[in-house]
Amino acid sequence: MTTTLTRPGALAASGHPLVRPDAAKHLTDAQVEELGRELDAVRDEVLAKRGATDAAYIRRVIKVQRSLEFAGRGALMFSKYKPAWFAGTAMLSVAKILENMEIGHNVLHGQWDWMRDPDIHSTTWEWDFVTPARSWQHTHNDLHHRWTNVIGKDKDIGYNLLRMDPDQPWKPFNLGNPLYNALLAPVFEWGIAVYDLEILEYKEGLKSKEAMHRDLKAMGKKVLTQFSKDYAATPAVAMLTGSGKQALYGTLAANAIRNFWAHAVIFCGHFPDGTDTFTEEEVDGETRGDWYVRQMIGSANISGSRLMHLMTGNLSHQIEHHCFPDLPSNRYAEVAVKVREITSRYKLPYTTGPLPKQVGSTWAKIFKLALPNRAPKAATA
């Protein structure tokens, strides 16, 4: 009867972009079209199955997360005792990670909108992260997911701070690449918040003064409530037991741990070895199939246990998430089997590896790109 699509609307089923990326050069238009159909079918299959078990899954995760947060903050009330400090900090860290990754990120993608539950909905959700949900949805859902890895369009490539691709021109500033990244990790949520303000767009006149004003106000409010909860209100209550200072340190540690983790996982999404970036010619005239190709070869997975998938918010299935950003995250594992089979049949790369390897590979790139590109070697041997 009806079909749904998230705007900005559908891409053509057939045709071809001005230039097809290297990794997909061997495919004909008809093959790419067929690949698009196959991936659409994978999506439809999940949509047909989606139901009560999925709803129960997200509710369970939310319940676990809230219980952990409740228990963690409770333990921090008595954090002048060392074991309580460690237990509280650990529980709060895990709670914050779950809240941001498996719950917040995915709810804000609209993965659970189909339940029609106003308590778990992309238009009502607010998360435990300094950037306001609505600003993030704009830069992340609208811009990053649409322009994934397109140089000049996807500002997530280095977040205006790091040089993450050899096609980005080198400046002396980039010598600090590894240093900036190391400094960014523990305060990642602040980095994202500043990034979501789109200050460069504003300077270039692409973002209006009113919009800037509105975003600054929203962020100011969010920063204030977040800050006063974590560093004033909850430590103040802990002062009743003489644990005020320790509770503050515990919360600070939990935020930093969450930031380190989120930073590590998110940088593994598009930067490890094997992922491609794209030029605007490679996007111009892109079909539905080509869009899928770009998402697949521009993203990287993290292999690991179910716990790993949960703690990364299933961004360990970055490839699947980028192909189907609004499918419920608990379905990515089964989708991954099919996507992987499709990529191998079409001879497309499928980048995956354990976390340490992917983190290492990302850091290697950050170090390498701190320096100007090496001149291509002479063809003579």
């Binding site: 009867m1 009806t2 699509l5 609307g9 989606r50 238009t123 009502t124 909850t234």
Partner: protein, 386 residues
């Protein structure tokens, strides 16, 4: 005295609620961006900052295909007036579905709905609901309620249409000796007649209630002629009438009252100013409650692309599906109420495009106009401000 107590009790509750709200606001400094209720719901699922819920306390099977569900609502609910209905939400395979149900219990008792298994939602309510389950709720509403001043009444009901009237009878009969109610209740068989025994008992016990059962399996459909109704209730013209039941039952009732009204005006003319002679005129008003609406008048046209502007969704919709269903299927949080064009809870401003009223076939295309999404379908591209 009882009144006094009630008022004091209510004030106390209001004060407590205000205190609780203040406390909750203070506590939210500790829980932001969540609310204290989000944490309280870990212990008691009735708590929610965003949606009213109730816990099912009891389920009574009335007939083979109907059941009464009693529930304890969370804060935000208000007591219903006899005859009102509430929106009830349940989850079907993980998806929230809303329908309207009349409250069948007396006005000041624990709220309850009586549901007949007739489709997807009612089936789950009747067959699968058990004590402890959560129902999603919206506070009672509706103006199918008892007259402000005491009057003799005639109630016409068929099938599950007895529910709002049952609430009226339960509220009125035991407490008001001066009440005078005749009920004509149509059902296929005695076994399928909801509340039959309780109605008979009430009629035995209280002389101010007369119950006339009509079983269609024995006597065929109730004929809405003046004579047939007078056979069941001779002074029907003097009574304020209320009717609730299937579409055709209500249409027939309306026809009869319209015919009578026309006769009255015709008769009133020759008699002139001698008001007393036109005794029945103005006496018999008919108030009806519909459980469904005919949406076929506007069907048979093409739909269009529907854009939910703020929710950032686009959906291709046909010309027969109400925009309310279209939006819900797309995961948009749509405001809704009766889902049949009577309560206006579903209004959304039209930004651009055209919609067709499925009841009449009329097309609306004025930007800024408020659209009743439950009875409107796309008539070409539509852009809604939601």
């Amino acid at each position: 005295m009882r009144c006094m107590k009630n008022i004091i009790g209510r004030d106390y509750i209001v004060v407590m609620m205000i205190r609780f709200k203040k406390l909750a606001r203070a506590a939210s400094a500790l829980t932001t961006p969540l609310t204290p209720e989000d944490f309280l719901s870990l212990f008691n699922p009735v708590y929610s900052s965003r949606q009213l819920r109730g816990v099912v306390t009891r389920v009574v099977h009335e007939t083979e295909d109907s059941a009464t569900i009693y529930f304890r609502p969370g804060s935000g609910w208000h007591a219903h007036q006899a005859g009102q209905w509430a929106r009830i939400g349940v989850e079907l395979d993980g998806v929230r579905q809303w329908r309207s149900y009349s409250l069948s219990n007396a006005a000041d008792s624990e709220p309850a709905i009586t549901v007949k298994d007739a489709g997807s939602v009612s089936h789950v309510l009747v067959r699968d609901t058990k004590p402890g389950d959560i129902l999603f709720l919206a506070p009672p509403q509706g103006d199918f309620v008892l007259p402000e001043h005491p009057r003799s009444l005639l109630m016409l009901t068929a099938g599950s249409g007895i529910t709002p009237v049952m609430s009226m009878i339960r509220t009125l009969i035991p407490r008001r000796p001066d009440a005078d109610v005749v009920l004509i209740n149509s059902n296929s068989t005695p076994e399928r007649s909801v509340f039959r025994e309780e109605l008979d008992e009430l009629a035995d016990q209280f002389p101010n209630l007369t119950v006339r059962h009509w079983f269609t399996s024995v006597r065929g459909r109730l004929d809405f002629t003046a004579k047939a109704i007078a056979d069941l209730c001779p002074d029907w013209r003097d009574r304020a009438a209320y009717a609730c039941g299937p579409e055709s039952f209500l249409d027939d009732a309306e026809d009869l009252w319209n015919r009578e009204a026309a006769l009255e005006t015709a008769r009133a003319v020759p008699i002139g100013g001698e008001g007393a002679a036109t005794r029945p005129s103005g006496g018999s008003t008919l108030t009806i409650e519909r459980f469904s609406t005919d949406l076929t008048a506007g069907a048979g046209h093409d739909g269009g692309l529907v854009t939910f502007e703020q929710s950032d969704r686009e959906v291709q919709a046909d010309g027969a599906t109400p925009l309310l269903d279209v939006g819900e299927d797309a995961g948009v949080l749509m405001p809704s109420g009766c889902r049949m064009g009577i309560c206006h809870s579903c209004l959304i401003p039209l930004r651009a495009g055209a919609v067709r009223d499925l009841r009449t076939g009329e097309v609306h295309n004025e930007p800024g106009q408020l659209i009743q999404t439950c009875v409107s379908a796309a008539a070409g591209p539509v852009n809604l401000d939601l």
